[in-house]
């Protein structure tokens, strides 16, 4: 679809407020041979219960339905894995359903859970996601991931998803990056930042103290993408509990977790990038048509939208999400974000799709220092810190869990519990990881509003999860 009807552009509305009350996650690693997936799911659930001072059994008594995000059945050779987890969590005979939208599975799982509460069907819903990517060799894993491309028109071409994705990176690199060395170094800076923040996250799989040159010297995967530009393959689980207001207040009474308002909006675009047709740029509230009139002149080749340089699904998720919640300028209205940094360059593309910077100017979000916890140029807090978890590059990409992990991370800032949870020495010990001597508190002071972008592959599905302190909403009746 390249034009929209008014009905299709209706701003979504929840029939009643929905709250995130708690969340939890397991350790994330490339392989966890000592635990079955159900054990990881129970780890995540137990943590969610602990954060609101409940036993797992007490929390379970509130749950009415369950939504399970698990992308790749092939990886575990187990269809209906959702039913296995549901049974092991002891939630039968409650209704449950599995959600699959590639890399956006975690975000989509939350999308469904929120709608179940908003509609009144359920007062308390479990959203649980996981992935198990350690039970096949890497080349077979690459084949299985490539099956998420079009099996007739793309998969036979190398059976390697990176190839289908990286052509888009190449186009962005040449059109908007103009193949400049400075642009390449900015891409590398994203990796340095995310691996660096992962050092302070006990859940994270790939903490690294590296430099831009380390990234630039890492092996080429698909030029200009190098190994350290790419996200991880991970094992792990994450969950969230969403409720109506009455249940949220009851569950969090006398606990540290303040219930947070939650909204999720979603967009989609062609599974095959080949099928993207030209269209006008759908504008976010902080943009005007005029500002893109000369885009093709400033960036030759950049006048085709979305072409191979933008993610329409991300743009539409933000388009709906911002209007649902009253966000006008995400740089001003949000305090902390987690983006789907599958690759350094896609992190940058997303800055433009969600309006942190206009199309063509994404690099400035990094180069200005706005994306940092502490702006390296000013020594002051960054304007909009991103991926303090380490993101998909430094923390994890256990696909079905990723969007929920991002939401957990945003929530810990809004609850003002980031330091308590991430600095907990017992947790570092439990995960068999050494807390670094220079461990740094990344709590975003006074954070009231946050956003997580969950994104599938070449952009077939994207969700925008927005969390807000209920005393700091931007719009009445949101």
């Amino acid at each position: 679809m390249i034009t929209f009807s008014e009905r299709q552009l209706r701003v979504p509305r929840l029939l009643r407020p929905v709250y995130l009350v708690t969340a939890g996650q397991s350790k994330f690693a490339r392989a966890i041979p000592e635990k079955k997936t159900e054990e990881l799911a129970i780890d995540a659930f137990t943590m969610a219960a602990r954060l609101i001072e409940k036993s797992p059994a007490e929390l379970k008594r509130y749950i009415h339905t369950a939504y399970y995000g698990h992308f790749a059945d092939h990886f575990g050779d187990q269809l209906l894995g959702e039913a296995v987890i549901h049974d092991r969590l002891g939630l039968d005979p409650l209704g449950n359903v599995g959600i699959k939208t590639g890399g956006a599975t975690g975000g989509s799982t939350l999308w469904e859970a929120v709608k179940a509460v908003a509609s009144g069907y359920s007062d308390c819903v479990l959203a649980m996601g996981w992935e198990r990517m350690d039970e096949v060799p890497t080349d077979e894993g690459n084949h299985l991931i490539s099956c998420a491309a079009d099996k007739d028109w793309e998969t036979p071409l190398g059976h390697i998803y990176t190839g289908y994705y990286a052509v888009m990176a190449q186009k962005y690199w040449q059109v908007f990056g103009k193949q400049e060395e400075s642009f390449r170094r900015t891409m590398a800076e994203i990796s340095v930042k995310h691996h660096g923040y992962a050092r302070f996250n006990p859940f994270a799989q790939a903490p690294m103290k590296i430099t831009v040159d380390d990234v630039l010297q890492s092996p080429v995967v698909a030029y200009p993408l190098r190994a350290l530009d790419c996200c991880l393959m991970s094992v792990g689980a994450a969950c969230a509990i969403v409720c109506d207001e009455e249940t949220a207040l009851e569950l969090t009474k006398n606990t540290t977790n303040k219930p947070l308002r939650i909204w999720v909006a979603a967009g989609s675009h062609t599974l095959r990038p080949a099928c993207r047709r030209n269209m006008d740029i759908p504008l976010l509230p902080n943009e005007t048509q005029d500002q893109y009139a000369d885009l093709g002149e400033r960036f030759p080749g950049g006048d085709r939208y979305p072409g191979f340089t933008g993610f329409l699904a991300a743009r539409m998720a933000a388009w709906y999400g911002y209007r649902m919640t009253g966000i006008v300028d995400p740089m001003e209205d949000l305090d902390v974000i987690e983006l789907h940094d599958a690759f350094t360059i896609s992190d940058m593309q997303t800055y433009e799709d969600i309006g942190l910077r206009p199309y063509g100017e994404g690099r400035d979000f990094v180069e200005s220092g706005d994306c940092y916890h502490i702006n390296p140029h000013t020594g002051q807090p960054g304007r909009l810190p991103s991926n303090l978890s380490g993101g998909l590059i430094g923390c994890m990409h256990a696909v079905g869990a990723t969007g929920i992990m991002q939401t957990f991370e945003i929530a810990t800032h809004l609850w003002n519990r980031w330091s308590e949870i991430h600095g907990d020495p017992d947790l570092w010990r439990e995960f068999g990881r050494e807390k670094p001597q220079d461990w740094t508190d990344l709590q975003v002071r006074g954070a009231k509003r946050g956003l997580a972008i969950s994104h599938a592959g070449v952009g077939s599905h994207v969700t925008a999860t927005i969390l807000m302190d209920p005393d700091h909403l931007l719009k009445d009746n949101a």
Binding site: M1, I2, T3, P33, E34, D77, P137, D139, E140, G141, N142, H143, L144, I145, S146, D150, K151, D152, W153, E154, P156, L157, G158, H159, I160, Y161, T162, G163, Y164, A166, V167, M168, A169, Q170, K171, Q174, V220, V221, A222, Y223, R272, P273, A274, C275, R276, R277, N278, G301, F308
Partner: protein
């Protein structure tokens, strides 16, 4: 002695011959770090899928004949009537009417330009292409979409003019039967089994 599985269709039903899976026993996975205790087992799987191209079969059938077919929406009531698609779309994505199959071979020969590309050093299991794989996305005049394929010779560049080549000997009847080379490439430089028509 196993026989590769083969399939044909007769009276509207699949007729299956040969072996479609091979049975290999599970083996234990033991922990070297913890007195060789049992961790799990391997679960070997070797199976062959049966897959229909449905309305796209004409495209894959004709590649080995040196032809590229696309489709066009000819529904007079469609807002986007006349839009041409390659990759082949059986139905118009706007009005959902069945598209008209059209021969785009000439358009591809005369107007193909690399929109973007990627040289990929790695591949997944079951890959049959030589590495590195030179992925290219090809744009054409008058066609609304941008075909993904691969370049068989030369170094890809955005804006490079290319022409299609076809695996006319021992075709696989997959998208890998279509490839591209820079304009002006001589026949003798083509990979084995490929020709310009």
């Amino acid at each position: 002695m196993s026989v590769f599985g083969t399939v044909s269709v007769k009276n509207g039903r699949y007729r299956i011959k040969g072996d479609f899976h091979h049975i290999t026993p599970s083996t234990p996975i033991r922990n070297q770090d913890y007195p060789w205790g049992l961790v799990g087992v391997t679960n070997p799987r070797d199976m062959t899928y049966i897959h229909t191209y449905g309305g796209e079969a004409v495209f894959f059938e004709n590649l080995c004949k040196g032809k590229i077919h696309g489709t066009r929406c000819d529904n007079p009531d469609c807002t986007f009537k006349g839009t041409v698609y390659l990759p082949f779309r059986i139905h118009c994505p706007d009005c959902l009417a069945k598209n008209t199959v059209i021969d785009l071979t000439d358009v591809c020969r005369k107007t193909a330009v690399i929109h973007t590309y990627m040289v990929c050093e790695r591949s997944g299991a079951f890959n049959t292409l030589d590495r590195p794989i030179r992925f290219i996305n090809v744009e054409f005049e008058g066609i609304s979409t941008i075909l993904m394929s691969y370049l068989s010779t030369g170094t890809p560049e955005i804006g490079m003019r290319v022409v299609p080549i076809f695996r006319t000997q021992d075709p696989t009847y997959t998208i890998t039967d279509l490839s591209w080379v820079p304009t002006g490439t001589p026949q003798e430089a083509l990979p084995k089994g490929f020709s310009f028509e």
